[in-house]
């Protein structure tokens, strides 16, 4: 079994394919909502993103199981925590990739440079050669996964697929061995195809906002009778909406791919994210939109006033809601979503 190479990425910026071509299984650090963040709270204040503290806790406990760790430039919180990881997480290889906030010719050139530099450091550290052929093979594999996920995700609005099931499939994509994953997703696809039709008692919604990283958060929507049929989350459509170009220089292909994925809230300009949401809403009929934000998540806090205003102007019904980082099915949260459900089904 291939050794895992862990990465910490608040969006979907990490070039998994480079790590795959180096012979590792990319593993996205997602923390564990069931484990207390006390070890991380020793170094990070409690008014800072609880998800990031959970990831640090996981890093402190499990880093020895990973060949190395790479960070991608994400939000202010995670950027500054690189240093804290450097001080407190034991690893032979901790690497920083500066992914740009802008998306123009100059920033893409810089991003391409950053990816090449990362590749060179991996080659040097692990004494491996990451050839273009290996990279192209990894890209093909990734595209196969993305294609399968697109097919699975499309079933959400026509079949009885629970929010949790979709979430678990999306989570596997960033943590499981890729060959096993392809088999698993193919089996899942066959199984989901045979599912009953979309249940009449559920209401289809689009979910955007902070990344959902544990199944209980998805169960809350289920409890309120809401089915997430579209999203722009990193453990979701952001991961598979786009295909990586398979021709030409593979690093350039990864750079182009990254510039086309649904934009995370850490990037500018605003309208790109809005455009993607509008596209989703055009493609799939939903009854409402849920803009959910994990407590202390600044990037989404900055996007929401703009997004909600524009989507309301378009005539959509939406709710803006803040959630805590807890596996408890928060009944207050459920009640608010139930009220929203009432509102959008009237």
């Amino acid at each position: 079994m291939k050794k895992k190479f862990a990465y910490y990425d608040t969006g979907h910026e990490f070039p998994e394919e480079i790590v795959m071509a180096a012979g590792f299984t990319p593993y996205k650090i997602l923390g564990d909502v069931h484990v207390s963040t006390d070890p991380a709270d020793r170094y990070v204040q409690n008014y800072i993103c609880p998800f990031s503290r959970s990831c640090l806790t996981e890093g402190m406990a499990h880093s020895q199981e990973w060949a190395g760790i790479a960070f991608c430039h994400g939000c202010d919180t995670t950027n500054n925590q690189y240093d804290i990881w450097k001080y407190h997480v034991k690893t032979d290889f901790l690497y920083w990739i500066n992914t740009p906030a802008k998306n123009d010719k100059i920033s893409r050139k810089f991003h391409s440079h950053e990816l090449r530099r990362f590749k060179e450091h991996l080659e040097k550290k692990y004494d491996v050669e990451i050839t273009d052929d290996k990279l192209k093979e990894a890209i093909k594999k990734s595209n196969k996964i993305k294609s399968l996920m697109r097919q699975l995700a499309a079933l959400r609005s026509v079949k009885d697929i629970t929010n949790e099931e979709y979430f678990l499939a999306a989570r596997k994509c960033v943590q499981m061995d890729k060959d096993e994953l392809i088999n698993d997703l193919e089996k899942t696809f066959q199984e989901w195809k045979g599912r009953p039709a979309f249940p009449k008692n559920m209401v289809p919604v689009l979910v955007t906002g902070s990344d959902i990283t544990y199944p209980e958060a998805m169960q809350i929507f289920e409890s309120a009778g809401l089915r997430v049929v579209r999203d722009d989350l990193s453990l979701g459509e952001r991961y598979f909406a786009q295909t990586i170009p398979e021709g030409g220089d593979p690093i350039e292909a990864l750079t182009i791919y990254n510039s086309r994925i649904p934009q995370p809230p850490t990037k500018i300009p605003f309208h790109v994210r809005l455009d993607y949401l509008r596209q989703c809403l055009k493609e799939t009929k939903v009854a409402g939109i849920v803009l959910q934000r994990l407590m202390f998540c600044e990037p989404n806090g900055l996007d929401f006033p703009f997004l909600s205003r524009e989507l309301k102007k378009d005539g959509y019904k939406l709710i803006v809601i803040e959630r805590e980082y807890t596996p408890t099915i928060d009944q207050q949260f459920v009640s608010r979503l139930e009220s929203f459900r009432e509102l959008i089904t009237q």
Binding site: A101, R117, P299, P305
Partner: protein, 437 residues
């Protein structure tokens, strides 16, 4: 004037409180004049000679020298927000921003500015009028990018963003050069953007002159700041935090140079060239890490001062005084500008931050450090606990962690904080005794 009259008519109580708040500051008449000149300049920029015809909105620390050389008079919403909080009037705009959908965790500089602008308040009370173009950079925080982009979008005006890579712990000079390459390309791109929106060719001579002025302002400010190494220090934080404004805002470079030169002359006359430490009025010399509590000048000039503790150094104010000399070539100067803004004391990575503080403890003969765990500024808060641990391990120096907010007075509770300050002062008492031995 009309805007101000309307504001007073609608908010007589806020105006009254604001005047009271300003009068509570340790301002000299000259300082007040300097402040009013800056604020008024942004109000009447359209009536000023051709070179100031345009008004640009910038985020703190942005290399405003480049747009300034194309005729953009710089306005810094953070400066207006800081003054509003100083006047004790930030809560209504913050609440207004909350009602617009900005969560409680969002930077209160931003919320003060957005709320005050929305309420139609004048610049003296945080509002920002429509600019001809908007500029932001993310070397302090990502909030800057989104905040100003949104303002540009609201007003339908051109916007340019500079994307700064993060210099994380452990990165060497060659890595920094790579980042400077990226920034240099963006600066050339900004010049092209400015040429496009103004229809004028970039004036290199003007640019180099402005960079040189910037350098001179920063040099003067640093020289003045160095006098605070004396014992007694010549200036404390409650004064410097306002005193830094002409340097930060680049409001009118020639007047700023004149102002700082006259202040330096006064300091030289009073203290001579002597920098040695002498016994004086401050019992405990304290460093403040983070943004000041704009609304709470009494914390510095009464609560701490009454116990003999005075803030003699703060990385925040000096962070904007790092502009270097113009180089022989345009390229060299742009790279210099990129470097000067890429690494500043306020945003140092943990390795550099620890090293910097170790030096300041010696240079300023510090007895204690107050670290502001700022709810509004997570970039600055992150890493503080490791910084504290490292400094305490090496020096045993007392550190007070102050958990509050820089603009929102509701995050500060006098009673519990005073108790903690008492404990901190006791620790400094012990520490100074040990230091003597």
């Amino acid at each position: 004037m009309i805007k101000m009259a309307r504001f007073i008519a609608k908010n007589p109580q806020v105006f009254k409180e604001g005047i009271k708040g300003y009068l509570n500051q340790p301002l000299t008449p000259r300082m007040l004049q300097v402040l009013m000149q800056y604020i008024n300049q942004s109000k009447i920029y359209k009536l000023m000679p051709w070179k100031f015809r345009k008004f640009g909105v910038f985020t703190a620390g942005f290399p405003a020298e480049i747009p300034a050389s194309m005729g953009f008079s710089p306005g810094f919403p953070e400066a207006y927000a800081a003054l509003t909080a100083t006047a004790g009037c930030a809560v209504p705009p913050i609440e207004c921003a909350d009602s617009l959908g900005y969560g409680r965790d969002i930077c209160t500089y931003m919320k003060t500015s957005i709320g005050a602008s929305y309420l139609g308040w004048p610049e003296d009370f945080g509002g920002v009028r429509e600019a001809d173009a908007y500029f932001s950079a993310n070397f302090v925080c990502d909030t800057h990018l989104k905040w100003v982009e949104n303002e540009a979008r609201i007003h339908g005006k051109p916007y340019f963003a500079l994307d700064y890579p993060s210099v994380v712990a452990g990165e060497d000079e060659s890595r920094i050069e790579e980042y400077i390459d990226y920034l240099e390309e963006q600066l050339w791109d900004m010049i092209k953007f400015l040429e496009d929106i103004t229809g004028r060719k970039f004036d290199e001579d003007k640019f180099l002159e402005i960079v040189n002025n910037s350098y001179e302002i920063c040099q003067l400010f640093r020289q003045l700041n160095d006098y605070r190494r004396r014992f007694p220090a010549n200036r404390y934080f409650e004064w410097v935090r306002i005193f830094m404004l002409p340097m930060v805002t680049q409001w009118n470079q020639k007047d700023a140079i004149r102002f700082y030169k006259s202040e330096l002359k006064k300091a030289q006359k009073r203290y001579g060239d002597k920098m040695e430490i002498e016994p004086g009025r401050e019992k405990y010399r304290v460093l403040w890490e983070g943004i000041t509590l704009w609304y709470n000048v009494d914390l510095y000039q009464k609560v701490l001062a009454d116990k003999g503790a005075r803030i003699v150094f703060e990385p925040y104010t000096i962070s904007f005084a790092g502009r270097g000399k113009p180089q022989k070539t345009m390229k060299g100067t742009l790279r210099q500008v990129a470097r000067d803004t890429l690494i500043i004391p306020y945003t140092l990575n943990l390795d550099r931050r620890i090293e910097y503080f170790n030096k300041m403890i010696v240079d300023y003969d510090l007895d204690g450090i107050i670290m502001h765990e700022n709810h509004s500024c997570r970039p600055s808060s992150t890493g503080l606990l490791d910084l504290r641990d490292s400094l305490q391990k090496r020096w045993g120096i007392p550190v007070l962690m102050m958990n509050t907010d820089h603009c929102d007075p509701r995050a500060y509770a006098d009673g519990p904080m005073n108790t903690r300050i008492d404990g901190f002062v006791e620790l400094m008492e012990e520490y100074t005794k040990k230091k003597k031995h």
